[in-house]
C-alpha cells in the first residue's frame, strides 16, 4: 500500500492557476461550452436538494440562437413584462454610460458599471415582490431602476451632493433604499450575504412572507462570509436566494483564482444540502425563470437556493482600472453567451412585439431620461460643488450624539 520509494520519487510543485489568455494573446474562451437552450430540465419547486445536485453542472437557458424562448424554464412572460425588462436594462446601460463619463469629467470620484450583466438584477427584480429585500453588491443597480427608484436620487448619491440620501458619507454607487427593498451597500465584499440570511431568518421568525435575495461576485465567494451565509441558510432553512454573479473576473483576477477552474460556483450549494441552479446570466428569461423558481421555494418555506449566474464583466472593474492590462482587449466581444440586451431585443422582435425602430426610440427615451435626471442632480451639484452640511459628518454615528462627538464638532467649528 505505502510505497517506501514513492516518497523520494516525486517532488511536489506549487500550482498557480492562470487564465487561458493574457493581453497580447488571442482571446480563448473555448472552455465556455453552453448547452443548447431548453435542454436543462426544470425540477419541481419541491424537489430535494439531493436530487438536484446535477443542476450545478448544467446551464439553464431559455433563449436560443434564433431568439426563441424554449424549454421548461421559459417563464412565459407577457410582452409587457419583457419590454419592461428591456427598458430597465437599457436605462441601466444609459445611466452607467453617463455616470462613467461624469467620473471621467471629474464630477465625482468613482463609478462602477454593470455592462453585460444587466439581465441578472433586472430579471431578479421583476421576478421578486417589490418588498422582498435585496442585499446586493455594487453591480446590481438595475434593481433600483426596476423598482422605479428616482434616478436623480441615485445621482445625488454619486455626487455626494446636498441631496445625497447617504449624506455624503459613502463612496459613489453605495446606495441604500429601504423603502425599495434595497439594503445599504457595503464597501466590504460579501458581508451582505450572511446578513441577507439573517434578514430572511427574521422574516421567518415573524411569520412574514417576504424573502431576501442577495448577490455576490465570483471573486467574493472566497470570503468566509459566503460560507457562513450558506451554513446558516442551510441550517435554518432561511427563505433566501443567494446569487453568485460569475462574471469571470474579480478586478484583475480570473475566476480560477476563486476556484472556478475546479468546479462551478453553483456546486458550492451541494456541500450544504442547498439546491443549486446554474443559469445563463445573459439570458433574461432564464434568469427570471430561475429566480421565480427559487422565490417560490423560499416563500413556501422550503428554504434557500444558490444560483450561479454565468456572465461576463464587459467593462473594467471600476473607473480605477484598465482591463486591457490583464486580459485580451477583444475578450468581452467574444463572450459566447452574447449580450443580454441584444438577446432580449431579438426575442421580442421574433415574437413580433418589438422592432429596431422601437428599440432605437427606447434607447433615445432612456438616454433623455438619464440626461434630464443628470441635469437635475447637477443643478444641485456634483462632488465638491455641493454637499450636505459638514455637521452631518458627526451625525448618525449613534442615534444620539454623545458628548465626545459634540465636542469634536465644536472643535471643527460646525
Amino acid at each position: 500500500m505505502k510505497n517506501p520509494l514513492m516518497k523520494n520519487a516525486t517532488s511536489l510543485s506549487l500550482r498557480i492557476p492562470t487564465p487561458k489568455a493574457r493581453p497580447g494573446d488571442p482571446a480563448d474562451l473555448s472552455h465556455v461550452n453552453p448547452p443548447p437552450a431548453g435542454e436543462t430540465p426544470r425540477p419541481d419547486v419541491s424537489a430535494s436538494a439531493h436530487d438536484m445536485r446535477d443542476m450545478a453542472f448544467k446551464l439553464v437557458r431559455v433563449l436560443n440562437d434564433a431568439g426563441e424562448a424554449v424549454g421548461p424554464w421559459n417563464p412565459a412572460l407577457d410582452a409587457q413584462t419583457l419590454r419592461r425588462g428591456l427598458r430597465v436594462m437599457l436605462l441601466t446601460r444609459a445611466f452607467d454610460d453617463r455616470m462613467y463619463r461624469m467620473q471621467r469629467q471629474g464630477k465625482t470620484s468613482f463609478y462602477m458599471k454593470s455592462t453585460g450583466e444587466e439581465a441578472i438584477p433586472t430579471a431578479a427584480a421583476l421576478a421578486l415582490e417589490k418588498d422582498d429585500m435585496c442585499f446586493t453588491s455594487y453591480r446590481q443597480q438595475a434593481i433600483l431602476f426596476a423598482r422605479d427608484y428616482p434616478l436623480v436620487t441615485m445621482m445625488n448619491q454619486i455626487y455626494s451632493n446636498a441631496a445625497d440620501p447617504n449624506r455624503g458619507r459613502q463612496m459613489p454607487v453605495h446606495y441604500s433604499a429601504k423603502q425599495y427593498g434595497f439594503f445599504s451597500i457595503s464597501g466590504n465584499l460579501a458581508t451582505q450575504v450572511p446578513q441577507a440570511v439573517g434578514w430572511a431568518m427574521a422574516s421567518a421568525y415573524k411569520k412574514d412572507n417576504r424573502i431576501a435575495c442577495t448577490f455576490v461576485g465570483d471573486g467574493a465567494t472566497a470570503e468566509g462570509d459566503f460560507h457562513q451565509a450558506m451554513t446558516f441558510a442551510s441550517v435554518y432553512h432561511a427563505p433566501v436566494i443567494i446569487n453568485v454573479v460569475n462574471n469571470q473576473w474579480a478586478i484583475s483576477s480570473f475566476q480560477g483564482i476563486a476556484g472556478g477552474d475546479e468546479t462551478t460556483f453553483a456546486a458550492r450549494a451541494i456541500g450544504y444540502g442547498v439546491p443549486p441552479l446554474r443559469v445563463d446570466g445573459n439570458d433574461f428569461l432564464a434568469v427570471y425563470g430561475a429566480i421565480a423558481w427559487a422565490a417560490e421555494r423560499a416563500r413556501t418555506n422550503m428554504g434557500p437556493t444558490l444560483i450561479e449566474h454565468y456572465t461576463y464583466r464587459v467593462e473594467g472593474h471600476s473607473t480605477s482600472d484598465d482591463p486591457t492590462r490583464y486580459r485580451p482587449a477583444e475578450e468581452p466581444r467574444r463572450w459566447p453567451l452574447g449580450d443580454p440586451v441584444e438577446r432580449l431585443k431579438q426575442h421580442l422582435i421574433v415574437i413580433g412585439e418589438w422592432s429596431d425602430a422601437r428599440h432605437k426610440a427606447l434607447e433615445k427615451e432612456v438616454a433623455e431620461e438619464v440626461k434630464t435626471a443628470a441635469k437635475e442632480a447637477e443643478a444641485i451639484g456634483t462632488l465638491g460643488q455641493s454637499r450636505p452640511s459638514v455637521k452631518e459628518m458627526f451625525e448618525d454615528v449613534y442615534k444620539e450624539q454623545p458628548w465626545h462627538l459634540r465636542r469634536q464638532r465644536q472643535e471643527l467649528g460646525t
Binding site: M133, F135, P165, N166, R167, R169, Q170, H174, S176, A177, K178, F183, S184, S186, G187, N188, T191, V193, P194, Q195, A196, V197, G198, W199, A200, M201, A202, S203, Y205, K206, A212, G224, D225, H227, Q228, A229, T231, F232, V235, D396, V397, Y398, K399, P402, W403, H404
Partner: protein
C-alpha cells in the same frame, strides 16, 4: 427583589426582555437547549420557545452577520460569543458592518443588536479563555461598549443595551459570574448574596448607558476601573489604607467624562486599572483624557495598572492578573509622587 448572582441577573435580564418584547431573540453557540457554557441562558429556550433562544453554528462571523440582518429587519437580537477570545472571527462584521450601518445609510438601516461575551481572566483559561479585548471596540466609532461589575448593574445595563438602538458590545466579567472576586485569589471568594448589589428586582428596570458609578467615595486619589477590577481596586484601597475614590465606569463608550473629571479635579491623582494588555489598552485613552481635562490639577503622573503585554499565560495566572497588591503599590506611588 431577589438575591441574584451576576449570572442569574443576566439570565433574568434576558428572561425579562424576552417576555417584554417579541422582537427580542437570543442565539449563539450552545445557548439553546444547554443554556450556554456559563448557564447565562439556562431555561430560556424551554420557557420562551425554541425560536426565541437557539443554538448557532460555530461561526462567530455568521452569528454577528445574521444578527445584523435581523436587526436591519427590525428585531433586537441578543447574541452570545462564547468567550471574548473568540470574537475576532466576527470582528469584520462588527466593525465594518454593525458599527457603520446607521452612518453609511444615514439612518435608513440600523443595527440595534447586543453582543454579550464573557471576558477577563482568573479562571485558569490560559491565553484563549481569559482575554479582555475592550479597547479593540472602544476604538470603533458607532459601537457602545459596556462592562458591568455587579448583579444589579448587570441586569439593568443589559436591559438598556437590548433596548438601545445602536449596537452594544456587552462584556461580562466571567470571574464575577458566581461571586464577588476581588483579586485576593488565595482567599475564599465572597458570595454575591453578601453584597447589596445582589438585590435585584425581578421585573423590568434599567441602568442607563453612559453613566459611571462611584463605587467608593474618597479624597486621596481617583481610581478608574470596570468589571472585576472595580472590586480589585476596592480591595487595594483597603489593603493600602488609602482613601481612594473608586469609579466604576460601567460604560466605556460613551464615557461618563463628567464624573471622571470631577473626581480627578478633586483628588488631583489618578490610577487607571484594567486587565487587558497595557499597550493601547483602554487605560491609555483614560490616561490621555484625564491629563487633557485635568492637567492643571494633577499632582502626580497618572498610573496605569494593567495586564502585561503578553498573552494570558496559563501557569502565571496570578502574576499576570493585576491584583490588589499591584494596584495598591500604584496607589501608594501616586500618593508619594
Amino acid at each position: 427583589m431577589a438575591t441574584m448572582t451576576m449570572i442569574q441577573a443576566l439570565n433574568n435580564a434576558m428572561d425579562t426582555m424576552l417576555a417584554k418584547d417579541p422582537d427580542v431573540l437570543i442565539f449563539g453557540e450552545d445557548v439553546g437547549y444547554f443554556g450556554g457554557v456559563f448557564r447565562a441562558t439556562d431555561g430560556l429556550q424551554k420557557k420562551h420557545g425554541i425560536t426565541r433562544c437557539f443554538d448557532a453554528p460555530i461561526a462567530e462571523s455568521g452569528i454577528v452577520a445574521a444578527a445584523i440582518g435581523m436587526a436591519a429587519y427590525g428585531l433586537r437580537p441578543v447574541i452570545e460569543i462564547q468567550f471574548a477570545d473568540y470574537i475576532y472571527p466576527g470582528y469584520d462584521q462588527i466593525v465594518s458592518e454593525a458599527a457603520r450601518l446607521r452612518y453609511r445609510s444615514a439612518g435608513d438601516f440600523t443595527a440595534p443588536l447586543t453582543l454579550r461575551s464573557p471576558y477577563g481572566g482568573g479562571i485558569f483559561g490560559g491565553q484563549t479563555h481569559s482575554q479582555s479585548p475592550e479597547a479593540l471596540f472602544t476604538h470603533v466609532a458607532g459601537l457602545k461598549t459596556v462592562i458591568p461589575s455587579n448583579p444589579y448593574d448587570a441586569k439593568g445595563l443589559l436591559i438598556s443595551a437590548i433596548e438601545d438602538d445602536d449596537p452594544v458590545i456587552f462584556f461580562e466579567p466571567k470571574r464575577l459570574y458566581s461571586g464577588r472576586f476581588d483579586g485576593w485569589h488565595e482567599k475564599p471568594v465572597e458570595t454575591w448574596s453578601a453584597h447589596p448589589a445582589s438585590d435585584v428586582p425581578e421585573g423590568y428596570y434599567n441602568v442607563p448607558l453612559g453613566k459611571a458609578a462611584i463605587a467608593r467615595e474618597g479624597q486621596a486619589v481617583t481610581v478608574l476601573a470596570y468589571g472585576t477590577m472595580v472590586h480589585v481596586a476596592l480591595a487595594a484601597a483597603e489593603f493600602a489604607k488609602i482613601d481612594a475614590e473608586v469609579i466604576d465606569l460601567r460604560t466605556l463608550v460613551p464615557l461618563d467624562i463628567e464624573t471622571i473629571v470631577a473626581s480627578v479635579n478633586k483628588t488631583g491623582r489618578c490610577v487607571v486599572v484594567h486587565e487587558a494588555t497595557r499597550t493601547s489598552g483602554f487605560g491609555a485613552e483614560l490616561s490621555a483624557l484625564v491629563q487633557e481635562h485635568c492637567f492643571w490639577k494633577l499632582e502626580a503622573p497618572i498610573e496605569r495598572v494593567a495586564g502585561w503585554d503578553t498573552p494570558y499565560p496559563h501557569a502565571f495566572e496570578w502574576e499576570y492578573f493585576p491584583g490588589p497588591k499591584r494596584v495598591a503599590a500604584a496607589l501608594t506611588r501616586t500618593l508619594e509622587a
